[in-house]
Amino acid sequence: MTTLYAILIDGMIYASWLFMVAAGLTVIYGVMRILNMAHGSFYSIGAYTGASLVGWYFSGAQGAPYWSYALLLGAALVSGVVVGLLIEQGLLQFMYKRDEILMVIVTYALLLILEDATKLIFGVDPYFTFQPYSLLGRSEIGELTFANYDLALIAVAAVIGAACWLTLNRTHTGKVLRAVIQDREIAIAMGVNVKLMFAATFVVGTTLGAIAGALTAPAISVSPGIGVEVIVLAFAVVVVGGLGSIEGAIVGALLVGITRAAAVHLAPQIELFVIYGVMALVLAVRPQGLFGRDLARKI
């Protein structure tokens, strides 16, 4: 029984983290058809800026410790918006008509550049800013103890998921975005400012990546390479759920998270394999992912 609820709670916590990491990736692909290899770098930038700011805040003890959560979110918002806007306006907007494969290579190059830039700016020493993680205390659930910060991340991921879904499905902006997703050319013909939509979508995607990084930073030691590590997992989640689908990212994250937690508890030797095993299984049955749509090819 303990193992069963441990699997469920651990799976939910991991899934919420996976979803936060993958949400930006799937939003950008869904609207812009860009498989953004640099997404991990935005996660990393969010983690570094959040950790730096919180580290500075606690080293001076300027105010109430709970303000550190606002600092984390603020750091993520500012860094995500600024870097996302710079990249979209300075590079990507000139390449939108290029082939999807070329965009993969462009964003991969961007990943390498941003990884080195992060090292130049923040150095190679790990950042260990644990205070926001410890501050919320812990809760006992049955025989097990969980960090309240981890449990709070489930709620944050739910809010992000709901906000993305409601924006896409219940707002005017969402309708316009769906029109762009359905057919870019027709949307332009109907007077939609696709360039503006693309810029806004990219910035939202990068900011989601930065938020995931900033909220993860207090639980880990932020060190070079963390962005590269998460990008593979994020891809696994969006591929399972279906590229470009928010619902898919939620279900993909839950599937991967709970399966991985089950493997850790029941057969730890196969934990590394199980994430990619799930991905392979889903792709074998539904190559477009669980929520992916079959697309008619334009001639």
Partner: protein, 435 residues
């Protein structure tokens, strides 16, 4: 064609100029002793290991060049010759390192190479060093396979210790400390280092205390960072002791997350690389956590003239205490200096590499961690003891110290020549000399 020519000429000129400007002057030509220093300058191992070891290297080399290192290292530089360094980033994998090593030997014409943290890099470099006949001092990598696979080395030496010692020492410490030890669990990074460490530890603990049960063996991916499910699995399995060879950010994240969830409240954890984060845990590690430094290094280094000098100088230059990678790098440099000076006989000359290899073999030298004897692997592997102790954080002073330290001699924890660590443990540590 015309267009091609117009690009070719300046390109060729630029290349020629670049080669000309970068062509190194050999040590013999410029009268300096040139050393290649290889350590992680980027990647996840840079922060916990690479940067401290490079800080240590710079400090010791500068001090040697200025003649400021205490006796017996008063002679400036190496044998009176100024040391100059070629620093190489270890990041990038074994193939890249082999290429870089060949560059150091053939292009930079270094007189010796000191380096390598990754065991994979050490295993790849050792045969190349022998092929190129270049004195190579491995300062940190711990793989037991190094001299099991390179059975008759001439130019390769390791002044750091074999990783098997970390785990045999940890097992002995746990037994001697009188803790409840009926069951043990493991969490290791899922690569050779983690598997080997757990293999040595579990074999040693079962040999020293038959009947110990293994409750769970967790093998998360390297640099995973999130250990929620693993911590639950460890808690559910209710072991008395948790063993881990985690290092760097993974170790810090595991300790932070585990402590926040009370994982260490009712059980002991032993971290074989724990000392490298002694000042970074900042009270997030529980008091009583058993930590090691992979030898008598860092906070475990004995007090002597050299270690006191090194600590003081490191603190004033890096504004923090030196951790074990810094000590190990300093030890490798001092070992090389001792070997070269013994081989040279008189100051101001660079002895032949064969002479250096002969004098390094079986050498005994003073170091920041006490006396080092190159007494294993036919004189190519350092023999030293190991110490473990308990983490203790004082919130008032915001400083961490180590309590209940216990040391084990090299002869107690090191397999003799001619036997592998696994066979020695399995046979019940024959010939071990423990106090």
């Amino acid at each position: 064609m015309k267009r091609t020519r117009s690009y070719l000429a300046p390109t060729a000129l630029a290349l020629a100029a670049a080669i000309g400007f970068s062509a190194p002057v050999t040590a013999a030509e410029n009268g300096k002793f040139r050393v290649g220093i290889v350590t992680f300058l980027s990647g996840a191992a840079a922060g916990p290991f690479g940067v401290p070891s490079l800080n240590g290297a710079k400090l010791v080399i500068d001090a040697l060049n200025e003649g400021k290192v205490p006796a017996p290292y008063g002679l400036k530089g190496i044998n009176g010759l100024e040391i100059e360094t070629v620093i190489v980033d270890e990041n990038g994998g074994a193939s890249k390192q082999v290429e870089e090593f060949r560059n150091l030997a053939e292009r930079h014409k270094v007189d010796a190479v000191i380096g390598y943290i990754s065991s994979g890099d050490c295993l790849a470099i050792a045969p190349v060093a022998e092929e190129l006949k270049l004195t190579t001092v491995l300062f940190d990598c711990g793989t037991s396979r190094l001299f099991e696979e390179n059975k008759a080395p001439t130019y390769v030496f390791r002044t750091g210790l074999d990783a098997a010692i970390d785990n045999i020492g940890a097992a002995r410490y746990l037994i001697d400390s009188g803790r409840k030890l009926e069951s043990v669990a493991s969490i290791q990074q899922n690569y050779a280092w983690g598997h080997d460490s757990w293999g040595d530890f579990s074999a040693a603990i079962k040999q020293l205390k038959p009947g110990v049960k293994v409750t769970t063996e967790q093998l998360p991916k390297l640099f995973q960072g999130q250990y929620g499910a693993e911590i639950s699995a460890l808690s559910v399995s209710k072991p008395d002791v948790i063993h881990s060879s985690f290092w760097g950010g993974d170790m810090e994240a595991f300790v932070l997350q585990g402590n926040a969830r009370g994982l260490f409240d009712k059980r002991t954890a032993v971290l074989t690389c724990g000392e490298s984060a002694l000042d970074r845990f900042k009270g997030q590690a529980p008091n009583g956590l058993v930590i090691g430094a992979r030898g008598p290094f860092g906070a475990f280094a004995p007090e002597n003239t050299l270690s006191t000098w090194f600590r003081t100088a490191y603190r004033s230059s890096a504004e923090m205490d030196p951790t074990y990678p810094a000590f190990k790098m300093a030890q490798a440099i001092l070992g090389l200096k001792a070997a070269v000076e013994k081989a040279a006989g008189k100051p101001g000359v660079i002895p032949a590499k064969e002479e250096v290899a002969r004098s390094f073999k079986g050498l005994s030298f003073e170091s920041v961690s006490g006396t080092v004897r190159m007494a294993r692997a036919n004189g190519h592997q350092a023999l030293q003891g190991i110490a473990y102790g308990e983490y203790k954080f004082d919130a008032k002073s915001d400083k961490a110290t180590i309590a209940n330290v216990k040391s084990y001699s090299g002869e107690c924890v090191t397999p003799p020549d001619g036997t592998t660590a696994a066979d020695w443990i399995k046979a019940g540590f024959p010939g071990a000399q423990c106090n």
